[in-house]
Amino acid sequence: MAQEKNMAVPQLLSNVELVKQGAEARVYRTEFLGKPTIVKERFPKRYRHPVLDQKLTHRRTVQEVRSILRCRRAGISAPVVYFVDYMSHCIFLEEVVGSLTVCDHIASTQQSESCQDQELEWLAQRVGQILAKMHDEDVIHGDLTTSNMLLRRGPEDPESNLVLIDFGLSYISALPEDKGVDLYVLEKAFLSTHPNTEALFEKLLKSYTASSKKSSAVIKKLDEVRLRGRKRSMVG
């Protein structure tokens, strides 16, 4: 009986559509209780030691669910968690239907000629506001990139349009150091993915600063971490 239960989720996944293999997990699309659903399966990574793999996989599944709930409680858009199976390390999440990643949105807006500046500035401001709100809840995302933010299209008000995803590396911390590193990770991913967007990222930080009460300590740490970064290229 127990054996059967353990196999239920893997069996289900063998029949559904594999959307992509990310760095962390395989992502499937299916229906769960009649709703469009994304299943994130953290399969064993055979390159790493089994003890380490088991520890990381379990911790990240727990952290992901925990942080999503915390964000949603604070009014930050993140996918609804429908179901979690800790045996097979699968999370069943709401599929954000009709969405595209901020990454793709920036790339396509940069390519089209017309009125791109205003459009992207608005987006940068929104991202800054939402990250400020998330950090005020002491949620550290851990893997902020433009691929991990979705834009939900539709007639809804702009407030709910930006959805944060992929909380696998997230954790709870009130330290300005951790929040500063979170922004540093985003800065590097942002600027390396989208060439010539320094001014845009400045806008994002400005909006973050204006939206969070605790931002001054975080920005100070961000500057510190950047300097640490400089040292890194000292020796070949």
Binding site: A23, R48, G142, K188, V225, R228, V235
Partner: protein, 335 residues
Amino acid sequence: MTVVIGFEGSANKIGIGIIRDGEVLSNPRRTYITPPGQGFMPSDTARHHRAVILTVLKEALEQAGLKPADIDCVAYTKGPGMGAPLVTVALVARTVSQLWGKPLLGVNHCIGHIEMGRLITKANNPTVLYVSGGNTQVIAYSERRYRIFGETIDIAVGNCLDRFARVIKISNDPSPGYNIEQMAKKGSQYVELPYTVKGMDVSFSGILSYIEEAAHKMLSSGQCTAEDLCFSLQETVFSMLVEITERAMAHCGSQEVLIVGGVGCNLRLQEMMGVMCKERGAKLFATDERFCIDNGAMIAQAGWEMFRSGQVTELEDSWITQRYRTDEVQVTWRD
């Protein structure tokens, strides 16, 4: 035909290599090896380089069967690296460039590693993991730059390994990393160590502090052996490196990985990366110690690309810099 001679000496290796249109004609090298428990200091390293550089230069020309007149361009490492050794090598490069009447070219050390890796493995447009004593970066090319997607936020992975070797007095001959790799093969017990990944970035200073603190206690109480520690350290830090490489690949949609830099010749790292690549249908490219570890030919190869695209460095601009990021270089030789 274009023949470029490359001078490299940014850390404890001094190497001079000659490249003719993608063919390595010669690539001699010397390493400054310190006693167990000690690192290499800039001034001592520079003294070592000064003592051997002319011998290495002579070897490079003799092995290639070339005379100075056959050389078209003199490339040298402009940075990043240790100041004193860089100055020493740049001075010799400047001198021979004027003696021979050949143009000079200052090369970014990291770009040298990448271009050498691309030449040897024929990888076309890979995600690059650059791991050495001073650098840990995940790099991908776009729009005329090698862009850094992930990197260490404190010390380099090679630095972490070297300093661990000093703590338990592992020999520096031929290199601490090589000896750790051999000892790790005899380790079996996995000791849990801190694991720090931040998106596509990593941190090693916490692991080093932890193991510096705990190593002697664990060894003297018989809790584990030195081999177990080597094994566990490698398994942990290499897992972190494979993870951020995979994350960068997923982020960029890339299906090729190239490993370069001194730590890149570690076979366990290559094996782990290979497993990851197989799981996602990607291809792994790696080289051996001749080209992974700092050498002259890599500077010659990057110099060859730059020279062919029309770059030269004027004498008054032929300075060196300890800080020179990979993404500062405008890549004029790729589309």
